[in-house]
């Protein structure tokens, strides 16, 4: 299947080279995990300002290549995100798994998609995700008001198309023909 997608999607096809199977399978997982960890290193923030980048990349992969990540991918990836996110443990496992199921169901109902519908869908999921994260954090003992996350919601929603572009770039790296066929 990957060879077929590769031959369709990469414009520069090199003769007797194929994409690496490990890269094609593992690269999405790697980018999502990096998206969970790396943003925390850039600044010691005193307010929630960074978009939840791991979740955005996860969503980007799911929308760009439906079926590439299995539906249960939210379990391991969410576990990893929970280790670093500061949310109550299990929050991302639950929300990422539910996101995958919701996306699957919506895509079965709406077979035709374009930029606007994808962005609207992502918008709904991102807003719900950030609000539910705040709700879980508040149940676990914090008492942050809703206005705290408004800038983060705006930044996340507006940056999502950009994340989508970056994921598309990752997709080209993923399917780069680097393995020599014999």
């Amino acid at each position: 299947m990957f060879q077929r997608i590769a031959s369709r999607s990469t414009s520069r096809q090199r003769i007797n080279h194929a994409p690496s199977r490990i890269l094609a399978r593992g690269f999405p997982w790697l980018t999502i995990m990096l998206g969970s960890v790396v943003p925390g290193w850039f600044l010691i923030a005193s307010a929630p300002v960074m978009p939840p980048l791991g979740f955005l990349i996860y969503l980007g992969w799911r929308q760009l290549r439906p079926g590439l990540l299995p539906i249960w991918a939210g379990l391991p990836l969410g576990l990893f995100d929970d280790l670093f996110s500061g949310q109550p443990f299990g929050c991302a496992v639950l929300l990422w798994s539910v996101t995958a199921i919701v996306l699957e169901i919506v895509e079965l109902r709406l077979p035709w998609r374009n930029f606007v519908t994808e962005w609207l869908m992502a918008m709904g999921l991102i807003v719900a995700y950030i609000f539910l994260c705040l709700a879980f954090a508040n149940i676990a003992g914090a008492s942050s008001p809703i206005r705290v996350i408004v800038p983060q919601v705006v930044i996340s929603v507006l940056s999502y198309p950009l994340v989508g572009r970056v994921v598309a770039m990752f997709d080209r790296i993923r399917l780069a023909p680097i393995v020599l066929l014999r």
Binding site: M1, V37, V38, P39, G40, W41, F42, L43, I44, A45, S46, A47, P48, V49, M50, P51, P52, L53, P66, G67, P70, I71, W72, G74, L75, G78, D82, L83, F84, S85, G86, Q87, P88, F89, G90, C91, V93, L94, L95, S97, V98, A100, I101, E104, W112, R113, C133, L134, F136, A137, N138, I139, A140, G141, A142, S143, S144, P145, V148, Q152
Partner: protein
Amino acid sequence: MAPPVNRRSSYSRRAQYTTFLSYTAGVLGAVVGLALVVISLVNPEFFSTLRGLADDATEPAAQVSAGGRDLGRDAWANLSGFFHSGSEHARIERELGEAKVRLVEAKAAMAENKRLKDLMGLSEQDGGAVTYARLTASTSASSRRYATLGAGRDRNVTSGMPVRSQMGLVGRVLEVGSSSARVLLVTDSESVVPVRRAADGVPAFAQGNGDGTLRIRLINLGINPLKKGDVLVTSGSGGLYRPGTPMAIVTDLIRDGAIARVLSNPSDTDYVMVEKSWAPPAPPPPANDGTVKKR
């Protein structure tokens, strides 16, 4: 783009089973997530070992990026400083002259203080620094405000120790790993620090708002004595935070207190100091025989 054909379950039994199993696994993931959330709500400490291990594992990379962060900030400061170095230099020289005079005065006052304290028989233990380390990471996407400290059990950090920068209080250590520790920043909404006004000692509590500001709640209700620009320091009541650590500056007044800005922005500090947790001096033992000595 229409969904690819191969996502439809076909007449093939095997394909149907695969689809069914993958959906089941997805729902199972959600159920496991819910169970984990419930466990962590009931017992928040349950996963601290796991988080500690993860922080320890990523600590070297986070240290490197923390170094890069400092470098970037310094480069910017150097660049902007280049353009007004002349006027800045003159101003600093003038201030240095004034500051030297003030320093002599302060030394005299300190000596006076020490003499008076000796007279009264008060002893003052020194604020012991446990270690100096970098804040390497933070939860910048969550509404909780945790930071990761680049020192842990290997440098004698234990939970509960206050963390400060040269500008003021940053937070306190919450969970300790072997080479990293998790710090609850003062801006988190679960952090409450007893403070007093530096000028006259009006007591209050500083609670985080979660958006980088602090909410100051006065202990004595009545007329709000706070004014914009008041500096608040920790009062040390209840222990933990050493009294007199600079904490916040009042920016807005509200009905029963004020909104304050934290003095030490944690992203502007390269190294922070972990202090021993402070315990207030023990009260004098009560006279147990019921008779009070008269002097």
